[in-house]
């Protein structure tokens, strides 16, 4: 049953990913991208990470996409004129095909190794995913967390300074 859901969501993800890349109007691309984000949130739930799914929907589909849509509407960009066929398209298609082929080859023939932890799905269900994330973030990763907050502050100031009328 789960595998049917997986393939269904994979189909939707790939189709909306193609739509993001091929749609002529930026608004259509943005809507397809929101669709991709929601499908990824479904995957996060299937991977026993419900908090990350909630954050994905709130931060990506909520905040970032609203910002992007807002700028698209603010600049009032029309549909892109018909793309002229260039050698660049062929070369980039080839590059991306080889990128995908090599990574799929490594995924198929490689095996995953790494330090195993002790966060089992059972523990996540009994203890709660949010608590586990909070515990890790505010003990082991406290310094990166603080640095991330400074990064966000710098981004806010930078965005205001850049978008100001008489900079």
């Amino acid at each position: 049953m789960e595998i049917i859901l997986f393939y269904l969501v994979a189909l939707v993800i790939v189709i909306s990913g193609i739509l993001v890349v091929t749609c002529q109007s930026p608004v259509n691309s943005a809507l397809a991208l929101v669709n991709t984000f929601f499908c990824l949130a479904v995957y996060y739930v299937m991977l026993h990470a419900p908090f990350m799914a909630a954050v994905q929907i709130m931060v990506y589909a909520g905040a970032i996409m609203v910002l992007i849509l807002f700028v698209i509407m603010l600049l009032n960009l029309g549909t892109e004129e018909k793309k002229r066929f260039t050698h660049g398209v062929v070369w980039s298609a080839l590059c991306c095909f080889f990128l995908m082929a090599t990574s799929l080859h490594f995924i198929k023939h490689g095996s995953v190794t790494g330090a195993e932890g002790n966060i089992t799905p059972h523990l996540v269900q009994s203890f709660g995913h949010t608590e586990l994330i909070g515990k890790t973030m505010f003990t082991e990763f406290l310094l990166p967390f603080e640095i991330a907050s400074i990064l966000l502050l710098v981004a806010i100031v930078g965005a205001v300074v850049l978008a100001k009328k008489d900079a």
Binding site: I3, F6, I13, V14, G17, V20, V21, P26, S29, L33, T36, F37, L40, Y43, M46, L47, H48, A49, M52, V55, Q56, Y60, I64, L67, I68, V71, L75, L77, K83, G88, V89, C95, C96, F97, L99, M100, S103, L104, I107, V112, G114, A115, E116, G117, N118, I119, L132, I133, T136, M137, F141, P144, A148, L152, V154, A155, A159, V160, L162, A163
Partner: protein, 100 residues
């Protein structure tokens, strides 16, 4: 049974799609959205591996990727607004002042 390789395959396909978009599209905002697509495919890899290895570190990393993506969205879109004000276009082919 769904293995971690299934998720990584989907992530690889998404990443290649995003890279294709970055290389071929000429509207700067669409290029930006393709970068977001690539970031999200990497997030999927992180969470799949974190689930597979039963560790929390990958999910913390996804958190930081999201933080950087939000900061990048704010600064990048402000840059685009400024550029549009000066040049009346955000076609990346027209943005060639640094080109040799």
């Amino acid at each position: 049974m769904i293995s971690v390789y299934h998720y990584m395959t989907v992530a690889a396909i998404l990443f290649a799609l995003g890279a294709y978009g970055v290389l071929t599209r000429r509207n700067a905002i669409v290029v930006f959205m393709c970068v977001e697509l690539m970031l999200n495919s990497v997030n999927l890899t992180f969470i799949a591996l974190s689930n597979h290895l039963q560790s929390m570190d990958g999910q913390i990393f996804v958190f930081f990727v999201m933080t950087v993506a939000a900061a990048e969205a704010a600064v990048g879109l402000a840059l685009m607004i400024t550029f549009f004000r000066n040049r009346e276009t955000i076609d990346v082919d027209q943005i060639n002042m640094l080109k040799w």
